[in-house]
């Protein structure tokens, strides 16, 4: 159970730990500066005294606070399993794991950057002073990470269930992946830039000093991010199990990688098409745009592909697996597919609007009033680029959803991800239609009130008209699909939340139910006695838990278990009054 005193103890211990760590870094950096960098100091009249006194004050306060609270916690762990398994301690260890490792990662990057750029020109960061503090930060936070990580692993093995640790691993994986991606994008951009300028991907012959600055900084990103990411990701994948936090992390990475890849692919096509249609970049090389677009496309594409492959390999939690039906989309793929559909559709919609607008402008000759003769070129290139990229994304994802809906209609048409996607499209389409409707009406009213409309205003009217027509078409198609889906009843949630009131002696049965059903059963209270209606034995309870989220049955969002040592009862419930599918007015 959550104990406020325990939470306070761990919060204060964390504050004391960070204070002490920063103090040690300051003193260590100061000590190195006083010895190794002494000859470089031009002026530090009071600086040494100010810094030394500040760091010492932090150490004198922070260290005893952390030490006293940490020792108290360790003693409690020795005498009580409850302390070791408490949420406050797991969160403390997880937060410390994440914080110390990420700070150490940043420090590793700074140290590598300083080392790799040493042979370069002098006007680069970081300075030797900063590098000294980065070395101190790397060792101190690295040691703190190792100390707490080992304690965490001693108490719960890597394979065991620990969501706070899952979050910490995901945070480090995310930061290190970002470092690696930045380095990879910069390396590809630099190589491509050299290739375009000189015909060679890297400089030949004697390296200019500025090369060390550029490639040293890039190498620091790649090595720090790559090393840490490879290690932590290998660790995460080896942990196995069905982990909600890992899945959430994978979704977040895909949410960044997929739109970035689609956007850069569309931008690249746009630039290629406009050049093919006669655009002359003049000031820059014809292919210079590739430097800023192609590296992002390649890196985000690789990140997308790898993480999608990992998503496909995720084992379903038992509760999800049990309600899987043949032909349905496996957990946890439905959400990324739905997001891909939304992204692809938005690009296709924009492309169709642009083409329609362009056609109307062309027919009415209203598009070139403010532009030169090639007024159509950018709009056409942009719309074709967005369309060519968005179309396969949209059709691929939508086709997958529709095929699954045909194969397993009860499961798929009731899936919350599909419902939310359709709702989002309908709502977005209606909002767009309303916005462009106001814009169109405004111009029409201006004309009716006698304000003359020039070619530019006519063109804006045509744009609004095109957008309204396309948005309403999208709303009509997806709205109809949504109505059909709604006939299958309320949406199926991704999981049923289960809480339990437990009587004395029911710990074993609770553990067996958790183990055998794969459900997360949260204990919300302790009963003084065995509940009167605890009539179902373990087998019956397992059967009822398995059927909680089965399609066609009562759509439970939550369930409450009253548990005794030898049996219990389950009460499934929903926040909404259940309505039969036949009452929904299916069409």
């Amino acid at each position: 159970m959550n104990d406020p005193r325990r939470s306070f103890r761990y919060i204060l211990a964390f504050a004391g730990l960070l204070t002490a760590l920063y103090a040690v870094i300051g003193l260590l950096g100061l000590a190195i500066s006083l010895t190794a960098l002494r000859d470089n100091v031009l002026s530090s009249t009071d600086d040494n005294r100010v810094r030394a006194s500040l760091y010492l004050a932090e150490l004198i306060v922070g260290l005893p606070v952390w030490l006293a609270l940490w020792i108290a916690s360790q003693r409690r762990v020795e005498s009580s399993d409850e302390e070791r398994d408490s949420a406050a301690r797991r969160v403390f260890l997880g937060t410390t794991f994440a914080f110390t490792s990420v700070v150490a990662l940043f420090a590793l990057h700074s140290v590598l950057r300083y080392v790799f750029t040493l042979p370069g020109t002098s006007d680069i960061d970081p300075t030797a002073q900063n590098a000294v503090f980065s070395v101190a930060r790397l060792f101190v936070f690295g040691a703190a990470w190792l100390y707490h990580a080992r304690i965490g692993w001693t108490e719960r093995g890597p394979q065991e269930d620990d969501e706070a640790h899952d979050v910490a691993v995901s945070v480090l994986a995310g930061f290190s992946l970002m470092f690696l991606a930045i380095g990879a994008v910069q390396a590809l951009g630099e190589s491509l830039g050299n290739l375009i300028r000189s015909g060679q991907p890297v400089f030949s012959g004697v390296l200019p000093r500025s090369i060390w600055d550029r490639w040293g900084a890039i190498a620091a990103w790649i090595l720090s991010g790559g090393f840490v990411w490879a290690a932590i990701w290998q660790y995460e994948l080896s942990r196995g199990g069905a982990r909600r936090v890992r899945v959430a992390y994978l979704w977040i990475v895909l949410l960044f990688a997929a739109p970035t890849a689609l956007w850069s692919a569309a931008t690249m096509l746009y630039e290629l098409l406009r050049r093919g249609l006669g655009y002359d970049p003049r000031a820059e090389s014809t292919w210079q745009f590739l430097v800023s677009v192609l590296p992002i496309l390649l890196v985000s594409g690789v990140v997308w592909a790898h993480h999608w492959a990992v998503v496909r390999d995720q084992p379903s939690p038992r509760s999800e697996g049990e309600r899987h039906m043949p032909g349905a989309i496996l957990w946890p793929r439905r959400l990324p597919v739905a997001v891909l559909v939304a992204l692809g559709l938005s690009m296709v919609t924009a492309a169709i609007v642009a083409v329609l607008w362009l056609s109307l402008d062309f027919v009415l000759n209203s598009g070139n009033s403010l532009s030169g003769g090639a007024w159509w070129r950018d709009r056409l290139s942009g719309s074709i680029g967005a369309g060519l990229v968005g179309l396969p994304a949209w059709l691929g994802g939508w086709n997958l959803l529709q095929r699954a809906a045909a194969s397993a209609p009860q499961r798929e048409r009731g899936a919350s991800e599909r419902r939310r996607l359709l709702g989002f499209i309908v709502l977005s389409g209606l909002l767009a239609a309303i916005g462009f409707g106001i814009s169109l009406l405004w111009l029409v009213l201006q004309a009716l009130l006698g304000a003359g409309l020039d070619g530019g205003e006519v063109s804006r009217m045509l744009k609004s008209l095109s957008a309204i027509l396309v948005a309403l078409s999208m709303v009509a198609y997806h709205g109809q699909t949504l109505r059909r889906d709604l006939a299958f009843g309320p949406a199926l949630g991704t999981s049923v939340r289960i809480s339990a009131f437990v009587a004395p002696g029911s710990e074993v049965l609770l553990a067996q139910l958790r183990e055998s059903t794969g459900h997360r059963i949260k204990v919300v209270g302790f009963l003084s006695d065995v509940p009167g209606d605890a009539r179902h034995d373990r087998t019956e309870l397992e059967k009822q838990l398995a059927s909680l989220s089965a399609p066609g049955s009562f759509r439970a969002e939550r369930a409450l278990i009253l548990l005794g040592p030898n049996g219990g009862s389950i009460h499934a419930y929903s926040h909404q009054r259940q309505v039969q599918a036949t009452d929904m007015g299916a069409d």
Partner: protein, 147 residues
């Protein structure tokens, strides 16, 4: 038993850290400032910075030869910077002498604070330009000081 050993280890490390901290603090507060050979560009820049920090602007101004920079204008630039509650460490990054001209690159790390709960640190880089006139180095730039 294992916990007891671990606690003893933590206590030992903490005591060592505290003692080391006291030693570093005492050593740092007694550290003499580096002196450069007189007449070098580094020595002129070091003197200039120390004079400005000490509020001796008349003497600092004598080390400059920036056309159009009046004494009053110099005061306006420097005065607010050195009077605020902050502590500075100026570190030499590099210097270059080319005939009668020289440049001295420095990093200025400023520890800005109002109290222990409001401490921030930032580093600026500045390149001082010097010209040799009548056998002595005079600062000709930068025109604005980021001390």
């Amino acid at each position: 038993m294992h916990i007891q050993r671990s606690v003893l280890g933590l206590l030992g490390v903490s005591i060592v850290l505290l003692l080391a901290g006291v030693v570093v603090a005492i050593a740092a507060s007694r550290q003499p400032e580096k002196t450069y050979p007189p007449g070098t560009p580094e020595a002129v820049v070091a003197d200039f910075i120390r004079l400005v920090e000490a509020g001796k602007l008349d003497e600092a101004y004598e080390l400059m030869a920036i056309p159009g920079l009046s004494r009053e204008r110099f005061d306006e630039q420097v005065d607010p910077a050195y009077r605020n509650e902050s502590s500075r460490r100026v570190t030499l990054i590099g210097s270059d002498v080319n005939g009668g001209n020289a440049t001295v690159d420095v990093a200025i790390s400023t520890l800005s604070y109002t109290d222990a709960l409001d401490v921030s640190e930032y580093t600026n880089r500045q390149t001082y330009h010097l010209r040799r006139e009548n056998g002595r180095w005079l600062i000709t730039g930068p025109r604005y000081f980021g001390l």
